[in-house]
């Protein structure tokens, strides 16, 4: 139950904060907010030993039991890691934001969004129910959207917010479809039950589709190539948000999803290749592009993309463990999964740290453009130190946790390149190569962060204020993170045993209990391939960093200058333009066109189903035909056919009258006196109405239209006539049932009337008559209002109080 409260605590606070903000309208509000993740963090830590020992915490609160959608929460090792990150980094970020954000900002909104996000993110990682997970998943997108557009008056913020929303929701919808497919295979929304059923799913036809769709959700959320494009634009958000959502937590929801679904889909070639390849490409593309950025936050964004790719690829490598036969290999592969989680934790620490430092720089100088920065070391020594810690860790240098992670990555990449169960040709040999190249670029941009910002010449003319060291409060959070960066390096196995290790059974349930699943991490493990690779990275990195000026121009060459952003913009712009073009083409606003559509559809659909399905069986049988009936048919046809061609509307109205009166005659032939009576009167009154209205309308002019239009009109008209005739002739010959009318012939005994029609109108079907009276009344009063209530002159058509 505490778990439920834990998830809903942030939501409750999110609702309270805006109200509280009215009472405490300054940055002190932040302390109330910070209490939330702190309390939750403490709570999680308190159950950490229990989780570490392999137990789980579960609770289910019914939500929509009818649909099998319940708030069922589940904390195991995997969700625990994320829970700790969400609350831990969350607390630090809130703390940082208290000093970072200006008092003038609408802090109430800001913290409400942050708390909303926090709750949603906790929901994502704790949910056992796919639909609930999805619900929280979308909620993270929404809160991210709101936070990116926190400064919504800025165009860039809006652009970034929209982009992230569209891409992540797109992925989310795909993921939902995938979940539904899973449900149709398993009959349950519970993740644990799904995992339990996993072996049986592999033969299901929808298995692959569901897999791809789930990956789509993960990749969009975790900014994997080619969906990564939203993340750089998300940097429009205030820096605490970037640190929290867009590096430490939300973007890792995709990682979580992939890890969570590894037991379901892992061990499949498609999963292995897609996750690994997408990850590795993202890693390369992200790091490569990070180097060319001038905005520090953009650089960090690309670096985040790249490292998310790294983690993703590690998860991909790890999934191979699930199909490999028993033996040391599969433990080795599974260690890639361990590395992924380990790297992810590390990434949260050093990337959070870097974002905070960039935020400090931005805060102090008002710019993040490295072309305007330099030489800040002297002015901001603490920040500089922290930046070095973060950057070097990210570059994979000791004595920082990044080094350990990178080593493990290389190790996994090398391991997977040979002897993986899906190896086809030498494709998997690319993994270590690409990983290495990407690491070189990673090294370069880490150096850029440190050198271009803090070292080199100062450029005071390019910034408009004199920078100082950040306020102490603002430094607290980065310092804590830096402590972790260093601390994990020295005590990696503490994290391994208590935090990462317990997650392994969740990712690799079939391997649980295998020795070596949780590797012993050592900073020094002798001179081996990974170490050599790292040395290579440093060497190549330094050379390339120094010569950056010279080779930088390759970014202007294809395919390096290719920008997927342009694809996105083209897609959006093209869709907008295309839709305008298409829609305005057929939505002409011309009634004639609309009638053409309707009748063409009628001809095609009804005509098709009459003539093409063999339904058409005309019955030309006639009992007897009287000459005078034919005469009236001719009269009416004659009058009708003349109508479109007469020159005056009076004539047309008269002809319409002829039709009306002649119909009355037909009603006589059909033994329908009541009809004949009504028809005659109505026809006259209608004619009078036409005459009354003609006074307000100009006489009609000859119908001017291109011959083509007239021919089309004619063809449609003839088609409609023929089709109705065809239908009617067929219906005439359809003689299966008797009408129910025989019943009404007892009208006198049943309803006390001799006039059957009248008995039907007044009794058997009086309800129709009653409503018809209402229709008539509405029309009458409607005409009255139409005439009496005229639009105000010059009032436009926007009215209202």
């Amino acid at each position: 139950m505490l778990v439920v409260l834990g998830v809903f605590f942030p939501f409750a606070m999110a609702a309270v904060i805006p109200l509280l903000y009215r009472v405490v309208p300054d940055r002190r509000i932040g302390w109330f907010v910070a209490a939330v993740p702190l309390v939750l963090f403490a709570g999680l830590v308190s159950i950490l030993p229990r989780i570490a020992s392999g137990k789980t915490a579960n609770v289910t609160v019914p939500w929509i039991p009818a649909a099998g959608i319940d708030l069922s929460f589940h904390i195991d090792g995997l969700s625990m890691i994320f829970g700790l990150l969400i609350t831990g980094v969350g607390a630090l970020v809130v703390l940082y934001s208290i000093y970072y954000l200006s008092q003038r900002e609408s802090l109430g909104h800001f913290y409400a969004y942050i708390l909303l996000f926090m709750g949603a993110m906790l929901g994502v990682v704790f949910s056992d129910n796919l639909m609930v997970l999805y619900a929280f998943w979308e909620l993270t997108s929404i809160s991210s959207f709101l936070l990116i557009a926190f400064w919504y008056h800025r165009k860039g913020s809006r652009y970034g917010a929209r982009k992230s929303m569209l891409i992540t929701v797109f992925g989310g919808i795909g993921m939902l479809a995938g979940f539904l497919m899973l449900y149709s295979m398993t009959g349950t929304f519970s993740i644990r039950e799904t995992i339990a059923l996993a072996p049986a799913l592999k033969s299901e036809p929808l298995y692959l589709a569901a897999m791809i769709l789930v990956m789509l959700g993960a990749f969009t959320k975790s900014a994997q190539f080619p969906f990564h494009i939203w993340l750089p634009d998300a940097m429009e958000a205030p820096t605490p948000v970037s640190a929290y959502l867009h590096s430490a937590t939300m973007v890792k929801a995709g990682i979580y999803l992939i890890a969570r679904f590894t037991p379901v889909f892992g061990g499949e070639a498609a999963w292995f290749w897609t996750v690994s390849l997408v990850g590795i490409i993202t890693l390369l593309w992200g790091s490569f592009n990070a180097v060319k950025q001038n905005d520090l936050k953009a650089l960090l964004a690309y670096s985040t993309i790249s490292q998310l790719g790294l983690i993703m690829s590690l998860l991909g490598f790890g999934s191979a463990a699930l199909s490999a036969g028993a033996g040391s290999d599969r433990v080795l592969f599974a260690q890639a999964g361990f590395a992924a989680l380990f790297y992810m934790v590390n990434h949260s620490t050093f990337k959070g740290l870097l974002f905070m430092i960039v935020g400090i720089v931005d805060h102090e100088l008002g710019t993040r453009d490295i072309r305007r920065l330099g030489g800040l070391m002297a002015l901001m020594p603490v920040s500089f130190t922290l930046a070095v810690i973060g950057s070097f860790s990210m570059a994979g240098l000791p004595p920082f946790n990044g080094f350990l992670g990178k080593e493990m990555f290389f190790e996994a990449a090398v391991a997977i390149s040979s002897g993986n169960p899906f190896a086809e040709g030498g494709a998997s040999a690319l993994f270590p190569v690409i990983g290495w190249v990407a690491s070189v670029f990673t090294f370069i941009y880490c150096m850029i962060i440190v050198y271009r910002t803090f070292l080199g010449p100062r450029q005071p003319e390019k910034v408009d204020r004199l920078p100082h060291e950040a306020p102490k409060g603002m430094l607290v959070s980065p310092i804590i993170l830096a402590l972790f960066v260093v601390g994990i390096f020295f005590f990696p196995n503490l994290a391994g045993a208590y935090v990462i290790g317990p997650a392994m059974p969740a990712v690799f349930p079939t391997l649980s209990g295998e020795p070596g699943l949780v590797p012993h991490i050592r900073a020094w493990h002798g001179i081996n391939t990974p170490l050599l690779m790292t040395l290579g990275v440093i060497t190549a990195g330094i050379i390339l960093f120094i010569t950056l000026r010279h080779w930088r121009r390759i970014y202007r060459l294809p395919p390096f200058r290719w920008n997927l952003d342009a694809v996105y913009r083209g897609l959006i712009g093209g869709t907008e333009a295309g839709s305008t073009l298409i829609t305005k083409r057929y939505m002409t606003g011309n009634l004639r066109d609309y009638f053409v559509y309707i009748y063409v559809f009628f001809l095609a659909a009804a005509g098709g189903s009459l003539f093409l399905t063999g339904a058409f069986k005309p019955d030309f049988h006639m009992e007897k035909i009287a000459a005078y009936e034919v005469a009236y048919v001719l009269i009416m046809s004659f009058a009708a056919l003349a109508m479109p061609f007469v020159k005056s509307r009076i004539t047309a109205t008269l002809l319409n009258g002829v039709l009306g009166y002649s119909i009355a005659i037909f009603f006589i032939y059909f033994r329908a006196p009541d009809l004949a009576l009504t028809q005659t009167v109505i026809e006259t009154v209608t004619t009078v109405l036409f005459l009354l209205c003609f006074r307000f309308l100009p006489d009609w002019k000859p119908e001017r239209a291109p011959a083509r239009t007239k021919i089309v009109n004619g063809l449609i008209a003839v088609g409609a006539g023929v089709l109705v005739t065809g239908f009617a002739l067929t219906v005439k010959g359809y003689d299966v049932f008797n009408s129910i009318s025989g019943y009404f012939e007892d009208a006198y005994t049943l309803a006390g009337g001799n006039n059957i029609v009248n008995a039907i109108l007044g009794d058997f079907r009086a309800f129709d008559t009653m409503l018809e009276v209402v229709v008539l009344f509405i029309a009458g009063i409607g005409v009255y209002t139409l005439i009496v209530l005229k639009a105000k002159k010059g009032g436009g058509d926007i009215e209202g109080k």
Partner: protein
């Protein structure tokens, strides 16, 4: 025989109506057309009388009367329209 005569009468009326329809289409003046409509009205009325005899039913007597009434109203309305362009006035201007 009686029936045959009646049928002949019916056909004659029908011919009249055909010619009247022709007059409606042809015009040339509006009153011509109204006259033709009026003529159609009364001929229909006569036709119904004959049909009633043929079918030996009194069910259509009301229709005959109604048709008489309405063809009168219609003619008056059309005439007034032709004469004044308006058929119901707020206040007769005389």
């Amino acid at each position: 025989m009686v029936n045959t005569l009646m049928l002949i009468a019916l056909i004659l009326f029908s011919f009249t109506i055909v010619i009247a329809v022709y007059r409606i289409i042809r015009g040339p003046s509006k009153p011509d057309r109204v006259i033709a409509l009026d003529m159609i009205g009364v001929n229909l009325l006569a036709s119904i009388a004959v049909v009633s005899c043929l079918l030996e039913t009194k069910a259509f007597m009301e229709v005959i009367l109604i048709l008489g009434i309405l063809s009168f109203i219609g003619t008056i309305a059309f005439s007034k329209y032709i004469e004044r362009g308006v058929i119901v006035e707020r206040r007769h201007n005389r």
